[in-house]
C-alpha cells in the first residue's frame, strides 16, 4: 500500500533525481538509463498485471520509455517525474485495454440459431463454475474468474482499481496521473468495486 514510507522515499529520492533529469534533458544517455532503472520495475509490474501478458507489458514498457526519452525535454518540473512517467504509462495501458476490450467484444459476441446474441466468454466462465459444483474453486480458477470480472470493467475503472487496490497508490496521485480530480477517481473506484462485487457474487 502507499504508506508514508513510500511517500517519504519519493521525497528523498527527488533531489538527486532532479539532477538526472536535467542531465537527461541535456542529452545524457547515461542519466536517462539511470532514470529507466529507477522506474522500470514499477512500470513492468503495472503493465504486466493490467494486461496479463508479458508480450503486451514489454511493448508498453518499450513505448513508454521511448516516449519519455523523446519528450523529456518537455518535462518542466511542474509535477514529480514519477507522476509524469506514470501518466505516459497509464495512457498507453488504457489504449491497450481499450483495444483488447474491442477485440474481445468482437470475438466474444456470436449470434445463436434463434438470432440472439450470446456472450461466449461469460458462458464459458459460468460453465466452469458449474462444472465443479461440490469442489472449492482452486486458486488458479479463482484467479481466472477475478481476471474475467476485472476485464468487464471499463478501461478507466480497471485502471483506477489497479492503481488503488494492487499498486496501492493514493487517490489523489491517481487523479493526477489520469489527468482528473481526486473526486472523480474516488467515484470511479466506487463504481469499480460495485461492479466487481456483482460479478463475483457467486464466489463468496
Amino acid at each position: 500500500m502507499d504508506g508514508p514510507d513510500r511517500a517519504q522515499e519519493r521525497l528523498q529520492a527527488r533531489a538527486p533525481e532532479m539532477e538526472l533529469i536535467r542531465e537527461a534533458q541535456a542529452g545524457s544517455r547515461a542519466a536517462f538509463d539511470a532514470l529507466v532503472r529507477q522506474y522500470e520495475q514499477q512500470v513492468l509490474r503495472l503493465a504486466l498485471h493490467l494486461t496479463g501478458s508479458e508480450h503486451d507489458a514489454e511493448d508498453i514498457y518499450q513505448e513508454a520509455f521511448l516516449k519519455a526519452f523523446r519528450y523529456i525535454g518537455n518535462f518542466r518540473f511542474e509535477c514529480s517525474f514519477y507522476t509524469w512517467i506514470y501518466r505516459i504509462v497509464t495512457n498507453l495501458c488504457l489504449d491497450q485495454l481499450r483495444r483488447k476490450k474491442t477485440r474481445r467484444e468482437d470475438q466474444a459476441v456470436v449470434v445463436d440459431q434463434s438470432g440472439d446474441e450470446i456472450d461466449v466468454l461469460s458462458s464459458v466462465s459460468d460453465n466452469r463454475s458449474f462444472s465443479n459444483p461440490g469442489k472449492e474453486l482452486d486458486r488458479k480458477v479463482l484467479g481466472e474468474r477475478i481476471q474475467a470480472a476485472l476485464s468487464k470493467l471499463t478501461p478507466r475503472e480497471r485502471m483506477v482499481f489497479e492503481l488503488k487496490h494492487y499498486q496501492g497508490l493514493r487517490l489523489r496521485t491517481i487523479g493526477e496521473m489520469l489527468n482528473t480530480t481526486e473526486e472523480t477517481a474516488k467515484n470511479t473506484l466506487f463504481r469499480a468495486t460495485k461492479k466487481l462485487r456483482t460479478q463475483l457474487a457467486g464466489l463468496r
Partner: protein
C-alpha cells in the same frame, strides 16, 4: 449519515482514504445499521477475493529482456544535435510563460511585430545609442503599454524597489534598450515581471526582492489565488540557490499549506532536504497547523531521528509530541 453515503465511505475506509473524523462517524453508523455492516463485510470479502490475482514478482529474465530491447531501440535513435537542444531549451523557457495567458498573447503580438519591424527596431536602438542618450525609458504601465512591452522582449531584470508605505514598485529591466516601469503590485504587467525576476534574474538581490514582494502579496491575501505566483514561490523554494530567497518563498507559501497539497509537498521537501537549517526550522513551524496529516507526521519523525542539527531534532520532536495521536 444515510446508507448511500456510508457505502461510499466504506470503500474509502477499506482503502485507507477516509479522514479520521469521518471514519469515526462511519463506525457509529455501522454499529447501528445492519445493512451497512454487511456491506462492509462484503467489501472485505471482495478485497480478499481480489488477492487471488496477486501482483507477482517480476522474472529477472523478463526485466533483462525488456531492458535490452529498449536499449537497442534507444541506440538506434540518433543523438540530438546541439541546435535541436538549444531550440528545445528556448521552447521550454517560452513555454513557462504560458502560465499567464496575457504573456502568451503578447508573445504572439511581439513575435509578429519582431518579424516585420525587426530591422527598424535595430536601427532605432543603434541611433539611440549613438546619440548617447540615456538608455532608460520611463513608461507607465497601462493597457496600451502592455501590448507593446511584453516579457518576451525583456532580456533580464536588474532591480526592484518598493516605495515605502505604498503599493508602488519600481522595476528596472533590460529590453532592446533598458526600461523602467512603475505600477501597483496588483498590476498584471508588474506581476508578470516579478514572476520572471523570481525565476530568471541572474542577481540574487533581484530574485530576493521579487520573491519577497510576491510572498508579501500572498501573505496579505492580495489576489494570490492564481496558480502563477504560488508556483513561482514553490519553484523558488525548491531550486533557488540563495537562502534568503528560499526563506521568503517559504513565508509566502505559509497561508496555503493547509489547503494546497502541492504547497504542503514542497514544504515537506524543504524540511527533508534543504541544506540550510534555518529553512528546515521555519518549515517545521509552518507545518504545525497540518501536523495531523500522516505524511507530515512521517517526515517530522524522520527529521526528529535523523537530522544532523540537534535543535531541529528537538523542535520536530516537540511538535510531534503536541499533535494528537493518530489511530
Amino acid at each position: 449519515m444515510n446508507c448511500e453515503l456510508a457505502h461510499e465511505r466504506i470503500v474509502l475506509a477499506a482503502y485507507g482514504e477516509l479522514p479520521d473524523e469521518q471514519a469515526h462517524e462511519l463506525d457509529r453508523h455501522l454499529a447501528a445499521c445492519n445493512d451497512c455492516s454487511q456491506e462492509r463485510e462484503q467489501l472485505q470479502a471482495l478485497k480478499t477475493l481480489a488477492m487471488a490475482n496477486p501482483v507477482t514478482e517480476l522474472d529477472p529474465n523478463f526485466v533483462a529482456r525488456s531492458r535490452m530491447r529498449l536499449e537497442e531501440a534507444l541506440d538506434a535513435i540518433p543523438p540530438k544535435r546541439w541546435y535541436e537542444r538549444v531550440g528545445q531549451r528556448m521552447l521550454n523557457n517560452f513555454a513557462s510563460l504560458q502560465a499567464a495567458p496575457v504573456a502568451a498573447v503578447l508573445l504572439l503580438i511581439v513575435g509578429g511585430g519582431a518579424g516585420t519591424l525587426g530591422g527598424y527596431e535595430y536601427a532605432a536602438a543603434r541611433a539611440a545609442h549613438a546619440a548617447g542618450r540615456a538608455a532608460v525609458a520611463q513608461a507607465k504601465v497601462d493597457a496600451a503599454a502592455q501590448e507593446h512591452s511584453g516579457p518576451a522582449e525583456i532580456a533580464n531584470i536588474s532591480s526592484i524597489e518598493r516605495e515605502p508605505n505604498s503599493e508602488i514598485v519600481h522595476v528596472t529591466f533590460n529590453q532592446l534598450v533598458p526600461q523602467h516601469i512603475q505600477g501597483s503590485l496588483d498590476d498584471p504587467g508588474i506581476r508578470q515581471l516579478l514572476l520572471l525576476a523570481s525565476a530568471n534574474a541572474a542577481s540574487p538581490v533581484v530574485r530576493d526582492d521579487s520573491v519577497g514582494l510576491l510572498a508579501a502579496e500572498c501573505r496579505a491575501g492580495h489576489g494570490c489565488q492564481g496558480e502563477g505566483i504560488r508556483d513561482a514561490l514553490m519553484v523558488a523554494l525548491r531550486y533557488d540557490k540563495s537562502v534568503t530567497v528560499r526563506q521568503k518563498a517559504l513565508e509566502g507559501l505559509q497561508p496555503y499549506v493547509a489547503e494546497d497539497m502541492r504547497v504542503r509537498d514542497a514544504v515537506l521537501e524543504a524540511l527533508l532536504s534543504d541544506s540550510d537549517a534555518r529553512i528546515r526550522t521555519a518549515a517545521i513551524t509552518i507545518l504545525e497547523p497540518v501536523e495531523a496529516d500522516t505524511s507530515v507526521r512521517q517526515v517530522l519523525s524522520t527529521v526528529a531521528n535523523s537530522d544532523h542539527n540537534p535543535h531541529i531534532r528537538t523542535v520536530s520532536r516537540q511538535v510531534l509530541s503536541r499533535a494528537p495521536e493518530i489511530q
